[in-house]
Amino acid sequence: MAISVSESFAVNLVAVFDSMTVAIQCRDLRKTYDGKVEAVRGLNLEIQVGECFGLLGPNGAGKTTTIEILEGLLQPTSGQVSIFGHSWNENEREMREWLGISLQETRLSEKLTVRETIDLFASFYREPRPTDEVMEQLELTEKADSWVGKLSGGQRQRLAVATALVCNPKILFLDEPTTGLDPQSRRQLWDIIRAFQKNGGTVLLTTHYMDEAERLCDRLAIVDHGQIIAEGSPADLINRLGGHHVVEFSVSGNHDGAALPAWRALPSVESVREDEGLIALNVKQPHLTIPALLETIDKQGGELQHLTTRQASLEDVFVRLTGRHLREE
């Protein structure tokens, strides 16, 4: 008897411990709109407490659909979601106390001031943060009494994040928080997100900026056509899939697809692709590849038109995986 009691206690402890470390979890998530558009096709995620996790993907990849299902705002066609071990149909009101949300596009009421808007959102929570403190943090103090309709795009975006942060959330959901911001405002927002994370908060954000994902996220999932095609820390993804360096060049005269295997055979080359008239090599050690490359071109009687080498980025990972660019410029 005593043994069985202490055993069940131990099991409870493990369950509690588990639910304490996993903030967001979903299994085999699917969403089909109107019975035909398969926006999310079998997605699994596990986001730890204190992590900043990014969903990176092109337009229409299913990022918003995924994040809104996790936020409990959209019913999945199938699959399970749990937030700190709770599912959405279990205790919605209580769970909402833990989440700060910023949707991809919310047009807040234009005729309310910044302060009134934050106060309004604060009023829905049991123990919100002081409005002044949040305005201070998001540098909205001097706009406190301006109407929302008179704010710039970046200020509105910051206000949207302020309405999410005022509730003192455990998890922050941000759907494309920096789209349309100038570089300085973006960096400001990154700092705010980092500060939130440093205080133990968990962040899930979506973006289609590679640099943002690379600098801000501890881990990320690259989403395409409703599925995760790669997952890991940015450095890990780049190392694993992007090659360490990229050597891009073009040759005048004979350059056709048939030459690609020849480039692939150069020393230290991991993969080759042709991209808008340039040949791009994923390379481990450029100092081995480049001399061999020059020699080969010379032998073929071609002429080198252009040569750059750079660190591989998430963009290269994406192109390697899908053959497409993340953002069509």
Partner: protein, 395 residues
């Protein structure tokens, strides 16, 4: 049973751990109340049960106040309408009948006969050629055209669809006959009555009130909700612990507050400008207006329950309101429609509201005697509300 055992065991475990850890300070820890062990600063802000509701209501009122269009359409426009219509249809003392006589052989005789008649000061007579006379008649400048024939006979040209034209024909005919020597066999006396309470403006103001409550209920709830849905603001609200019932309650409360201002302004205006007399009690008028306001709030909620775009909800709202503008007796009495469709007309919520307001304001009918009208409104509002909640989409 098992659970409570486990809990006890856990509690004992806790104690054991506590004892191990704070072995030496044990006796002190027991004396000190548990509260002081966690000396966190008190949470700076704690919201009560109604904080969401009161903030939603305040935000809504502020938004309305800052929207000049709302102030105009809800408050000023009905006053202008009442003013305009009240002046256009005011009962003019000695309302002159304007008559055209077609030039010709008998025109002079007809004119002198009219001038000799006892009612001659009521007629405004002009002698014109036939074309001008008919044109003036078509444009409503003349109520009647007299076309004199041979041997003192006259032809009246009048429009049976225009009450003033029919009236003009009868009066002119009486005058001509009397001037020509006809004797009335029954002696009669007429007393004029344009007391406050029986004039067009008295009929109009309660109708405008009803229409205004319908307009602002439908737009104020229906349009506002779809606008918030389109702006994804509803979705954002649902992403917070906001109570959805409180949200709707705040919306309804804002309607009631506006209603009081709307009704008060219009009645005050009627009383000051047109010396309108309000016979019913303020309480019963307010109750009728509140029920009407909530009824149309419910109907507005229903029209807005699924629409995603403000364009589609605008069409829907106009579609719902159109029959009531026409049939429910806002500007003219629905008695003019065939009696066959009267039961249908009376089943419309705006008809019930207008009738109830008129009965209460103009006749002082107590609210108890108006229960069928109240019931009609409550049914419309209640059924709409229940259906709306069933179909309502927050996202």
């Amino acid at each position: 049973m098992h659970g409570s055992l486990a809990a006890k065991a856990a509690a004992q475990d806790d104690k054991a751990i506590g004892y191990d850890r704070h072995h030496r300070s044990m006796s002190i820890a027991q004396e000190v109340p548990i509260k002081t062990e966690h000396t966190e600063p008190a949470p700076p802000r704690r919201n009560g049960r109604w904080s969401g509701y009161s903030h939603l209501l305040m935000a809504r009122m502020l938004e309305l106040k800052r929207e000049p269009e709302v102030v105009f359409w809800v408050f000023i426009f009905p006053l202008l309408l009442a003013l305009g219509l009240g002046i256009a249809f005011r009962n003019k003392p000695g309302n002159a009948v304007s008559v055209a006589i077609v030039e010709g052989t008998g025109s002079r005789q007809a004119q002198s006969l009219l001038a000799r008649s006892p009612q001659h000061d009521q007629f405004k007579v002009q002698v014109l050629n036939e074309d001008d006379a008919r044109k003036g008649f078509r444009l409503g400048k003349f109520d009647l055209v007299i076309e004199p024939g041979n041997n003192g006979a006259v032809t009246y040209r009048y429009d049976p669809a225009r009450p003033e034209s029919v009236l003009a024909k009868a009066e002119v005919n009486d005058a001509l006959q009397a001037a020509a020597g006809r004797k009335d066999t029954v002696p009669t006396t007429g007393v004029t009555s344009s007391e406050p309470g029986s004039r067009y403006i008295d009929f109009l103001i309660p109708g405008l009130l009803g229409m205004n409550l319908m307009n602002s209920g439908m737009w104020g709830i229906g349009f506002a909700l779809v606008d918030m849905r389109q702006r994804k603001l509803l979705k954002r609200f649902v992403g917070t612990p906001m109570r959805r019932g409180d949200f709707l309650l705040a919306l309804a409360s804002s309607r009631l507050i506006l209603m009081i201002i709307e009704v008060g302004l219009l009645l005050l205006f009627g009383a000051l400008f047109f010396h309108m007399r309000v016979l019913g009690s303020i309480g019963s008028i307010a109750l009728i207006a509140a029920i009407g306001s909530l009824t149309f709030g419910g109907v507005g909620l229903l029209t807005a329950s699924r629409a995603q775009k403000i364009e589609s909800v605008s069409g829907l709202i106009n579609l719902v309101m159109m029959p009531m503008w026409i049939f429910s007796g806002v500007f003219f009495s629905y008695e003019r429609f065939p009696a066959m469709i009267h039961p249908l007309i009376k089943a419309l919520p705006l008809t019930a509201l207008n009738d109830a307001l008129r009965a209460s304001i103009l006749e002082g009918t107590p609210i108890m005697h108006q229960w069928p009208r109240m019931l009609i409104m409550i049914l419309w509002g209640g059924v709409s509300f229940v259906l709306a909640l069933k179909w309502f989409r927050w996202t």
